[in-house]
């Protein structure tokens, strides 16, 4: 249901986000309310914008209160005494306070607006059809749980008036079996878009913690954006050094291995996962690969390119390669890719020098709306 106030509300949100009326931003104060969610205290931020007026300064003001205490006691009683003040509860349970801020969906929208990301074009497959039940009609038979009270009542009323048993002085209506009406449903068919992201990361010795952090930040944002675009987005995680394996999300960001780098191993596994689980005709597929670009040998790089050309690219929406700069100097791989795929729109490469470059890189990856 839309409310009249929605417009005012969205204007307020936009001011808070700094999209409009920048001159008001300096009046924004970050208030909070403390709420309870299960066992945890949650802090609910409520940004407030105070319109400046002629008003009294705070500290000289004081006031009149009511309650126990002697002169010199703090107002509101000693801490821990009584059950007042959300502020105190906050102090005691400082550790458990969670932030409830904007939802991830909102975040994704902000990201989309900030980076001017286009909404993603679905690969145009409507082959997967989901069936959904919708209650649209009325039947004479059905389970009691679906009985339509109003319609049943109307039928009963109609019958009793028609048959002359209706007495306005004592308007009692007794529905009979044939009066009963039930809600009935129709199956609706809707095309669904499916999407999977395959994250691949180089975890060879040269990828340090900082590099992983960059990958983590970037993949979080990519994940958030794509989730906004597709419902039921799946993610798969592959790590590789000289060999590749599939891991869960947790491991993906935490593993640090040493050893050489054979990127082809990851691409092979990636192609394999796609073949086994995600038929290209039904899925929007997004492989993302992050590495520092130091591949073991030129031969392996050529294998990679072969794999991409034959196995991966025909099946995916786009292939993204992000090269994180490592302390040992940036690798060659990104240049090789650019050389071979300079004309292929599906391959997007990006070099990520440091954390600040993450934003630009996301824009490079997602800016095409594939």
């Amino acid at each position: 249901m839309s409310l009249k106030i929605d417009q005012d509300h969205s204007r307020f949100r936009n001011i808070v986000r700094g999209k409009i009326r920048q001159n008001l931003r300096r009046y924004i104060s970050q208030g909070e309310m403390l709420g309870r969610k299960g066992k945890d205290l949650v802090s609910i931020p409520i940004p407030q914008i105070d319109i400046p007026r002629f008003t009294f300064g705070d500290k000289q003001k004081g006031g009149v209160g009511q309650g126990k205490g002697d002169a010199g006691d703090p107002v509101g009683g000693e801490e821990g005494e009584g059950e007042d003040g959300a502020g105190q509860a906050g102090k005691d349970a400082g550790d458990h306070v969670l932030e409830v801020d904007i939802t991830l969906d909102e975040l994704a929208d902000i990201l989309g607006e900030e980076l001017e990301l286009p909404a993603i074009e679905n690969k145009g497959k409507s082959r997967i059809i989901a069936a959904k039940d919708r209650y649209t009609g009325i039947r004479r038979i059905g389970p009691e749980s679906l009985r339509h009270f109003k319609r049943t009542y109307k039928e009963a009323l109609r019958r009793s008036i028609a048959s002359g048993v209706y007495d306005p002085g004592n308007p009692m209506i007794v529905p009979q079996k044939e009066d009963k009406r039930f809600r009935s449903w129709k199956e609706d068919h809707e095309p669904v878009a499916n999407a999977v992201i395959l994250y691949m990361m180089d975890v060879s010795g040269s990828m340090g913690d900082e590099q992983k952090e960059i990958v983590r930040i970037e993949s979080f944002w990519i994940d958030t954006w794509l989730r906004r675009q597709y419902q039921g987005l799946e993610s798969r995680y592959i790590i590789h050094d000289a060999v590749a394996r599939e891991v869960d999300r947790e491991t993906f960001f935490r593993t640090r291995e040493s050893g050489g780098t054979m990127i082809s191993s990851a691409y092979r596994l990636c192609a394999q996962i796609i073949d086994e689980h995600y038929p290209a005709a039904e899925w929007n597929i997004y492989p993302f690969h992050f590495s520092d670009g130091d591949n073991w040998s030129m031969d392996d790089t050529l294998t990679c390119i072969e794999l991409m050309k034959k196995e991966i690219l025909p099946k995916v929406n786009m292939f993204a390669y992000g090269q994180v700069e490592s302390p040992y100097g940036s690798g060659q791989f990104v240049k090789d890719l650019r050389e071979h795929f300079s004309t292929d729109e599906r391959v997007i490469t990006s070099e990520i020098r440091d954390r600040d470059a993450v934003v630009g890189s996301i824009k490079e990856f997602l800016g095409k709306g594939k």
């Binding site: 409310l3 307020f12 309310m33 004081g62 009149v64 209160g65 009511q66 002169a71 107002v75």
Partner: protein, 520 residues
């Protein structure tokens, strides 16, 4: 009952309750406008509450801000709005869908208290749309009192007027100006409807000859008692003063700064329209601010009386009591207007029932006698009805807050302690408590600011004066507000005030803020 009540979507069982409660309220002597109850879902309730109780307002982001705060605090179970009622004839009151029947009854009782107050308290006469510019006698009124208070319509009209302006000039421009106006919103004269501030006729007359008042004396002593040099000197002084005042504009200080700006500032038509809307709406909310304690106290007094004596049956009384306790709670040492108000009314009722007033009572020093003082006058009910009609918060506290009451209710004053960086209890001494409370209520917590001179230093600049009563203005806000004034006045603006006990003049010329420490 008007046709409105039958038109609402209120379910049958609640309409029956309403009729019952209404009958009871009438029997108690309450006298109210017709009340239209409407049932709202929580998000509608939040929406309307954000609009200050009105279904339609002009578009502005701050309503959205309020809505966000209300709905978040509802969604996380921190608070919900039980009742809302607007001062309108007929009055509209809202019930929250999903509240228990006991709660709904409680709300209804409370609402009838409020509406009785709206209709009978003199301060609310200022919201009569058909009363003319000045209300000479706020208490006297026709027998069938049925004023035009169609503020719901007026606010909606304001809404469409502003929307039309927005269509023409764009939301950014208009909203920016609305913000400017809102930052000046509190610069109005709360009593202007009841007092004739400007005496136009005087200015037309030729000023009289300056006459120095002489001390009375016998003829032969006159030269000694009123020496001619002195008289001459005084005469010159007075003439000089009059000369100064001659060119002065406005002739007298004006507290209604907004009106002054409306009449004299170089505004475009649409700007004037908006400023005038903001001013009208500002005045609408004044009586509610002037009678917060009395109004809430009165409604609470009646809901508790009606619920416990007439409405509740034994199965509901515990639920009612719990809810009532929540409303009346004082926590964190803060003053709760509901609680303070209701206790004062009860105190007045008791005192007038027992005759604990008047010279004899005041003069009595014997605590024991005072404690058992009971003349069985039974004037309590009559007195509280009188009080609800003739007082506002300031006079209410001034007249009826007694040392005994303050002690019983454990009242104290508090102040900011620089040493401990916290608010600390200052004293429980009665005079101090009362003074502080009155100071807080005077001009309902707004500084008193006047237009002093519209041709300051003969440069067409605006000079405002802040009547300093012990508390400085908040300086960063003051600077921003000066900027809003300059936006409207289009010329530099100065404000005479005090900072840290010293006289100071703040000035803003559109570019730079300045402070001068010698007063004019």
């Amino acid at each position: 009952m008007s046709q409105f009540a039958t038109n609402t979507t209120l379910p049958r069982y609640l309409r029956d309750e309403q009729e019952k409660v209404e009958k009871i309220a009438k029997a108690h002597g309450l006298d109210f406008f017709p009340v239209v109850f409407e049932m709202l879902s929580y998000d509608h309730m939040n929406e309307i509450a954000a609009y200050g109780g009105f279904p339609n307002r002009y578009p502005h982001w701050r309503f959205g801000m309020e809505y966000e705060r209300l709905s978040k605090s509802y969604e996380y179970g921190l608070s919900k709005i039980y009742e809302m009622v607007i001062n309108n004839n007929p009055s509209y009151a809202y019930l929250l869908e999903g509240n228990s029947l006991t709660d709904q009854k409680l709300v209804m009782c409370h609402v009838f208290g409020h509406v009785d107050f709206f209709k009978n308290n003199f301060a609310f006469r200022a919201t009569d749309l058909d009363a003319g510019e000045h209300i000479a006698d706020p208490v006297g009124r026709r027998k069938e009192y049925d004023p035009n208070r169609r503020w719901v319509d007026k606010m909606a009209n304001h809404g469409s007027a502003v929307r039309r302006i927005v269509d023409r000039y764009g939301i950014h421009k208009v909203e920016e100006f609305v913000d400017v106006c809102l930052s000046l919103e509190n610069l109005i004269d709360p009593w202007s409807r009841f007092v004739v501030r400007r005496r136009e006729s005087q200015t037309d007359e030729e000023p009289e000859q300056v006459e120095v008042p002489r001390l009375k004396s016998k003829d032969y002593m006159d030269e000694f008692i009123n020496p001619s040099e002195y008289i001459e000197e005084q005469k010159k002084k007075m003439e000089a003063e009059r000369e100064l005042e001659k060119g002065k504009f406005p002739a007298q200080r004006e507290q209604d700064v907004l009106l002054f700006l409306l009449e004299n500032a170089p505004l475009e038509r649409w700007e004037r329209a908006i400023l005038s809307i903001i001013r009208d709406e500002g005045y609408y909310f004044v009586p509610q601010m002037q009678t917060k304690i009395m109004n809430e106290g009165w409604a609470s007094y009646w809901h508790s009386k009606m619920m416990t004596e007439d409405v509740c049956d034994w199965s509901e009384i515990v639920d009612y009591a719990e809810n009532n306790a929540g409303v009346m709670a004082t926590s964190g040492g803060r003053l709760n207007p509901y609680k303070l108000g209701v206790e004062l009314y009860r105190n007045i009722e008791e005192r007038w029932n027992k005759g604990q007033f008047g010279q004899e009572w005041e003069d009595c020093d014997d605590l024991d006698v005072k404690k058992n003082w009971d003349l069985r006058l039974g004037l309590g009910k009559q007195k509280v009805f009188e009080v609800r009609a003739l007082y506002n918060d300031v006079t209410f506290i001034d007249e009826f807050l007694t040392p005994e009451f303050a002690m019983e209710n454990k009242m104290f004053t508090f102040n900011w302690s620089n040493r401990n960086e916290r608010y600390e209890i200052d004293t429980r001494e009665f005079q101090a408590v009362k003074e502080k409370l009155l100071a807080q209520l005077t001009n309902f917590g707004n500084p008193s600011i006047f237009v002093e001179d519209a041709n300051y230093e003969n440069r067409g600049e605006l000079l405002l004066v802040h009547e300093h009563r012990g508390v400085d203005l908040r300086s960063d806000y003051a600077r921003e507000t000066m900027a809003s004034l300059v936006r409207v006045w289009k010329r530099p603006v100065s404000l005479a005030t005090q900072i840290d006990g010293k006289k100071a003049v703040l000035r803003f010329d559109g570019k730079e803020h300045g402070v001068r420490h010698d007063a004019p």
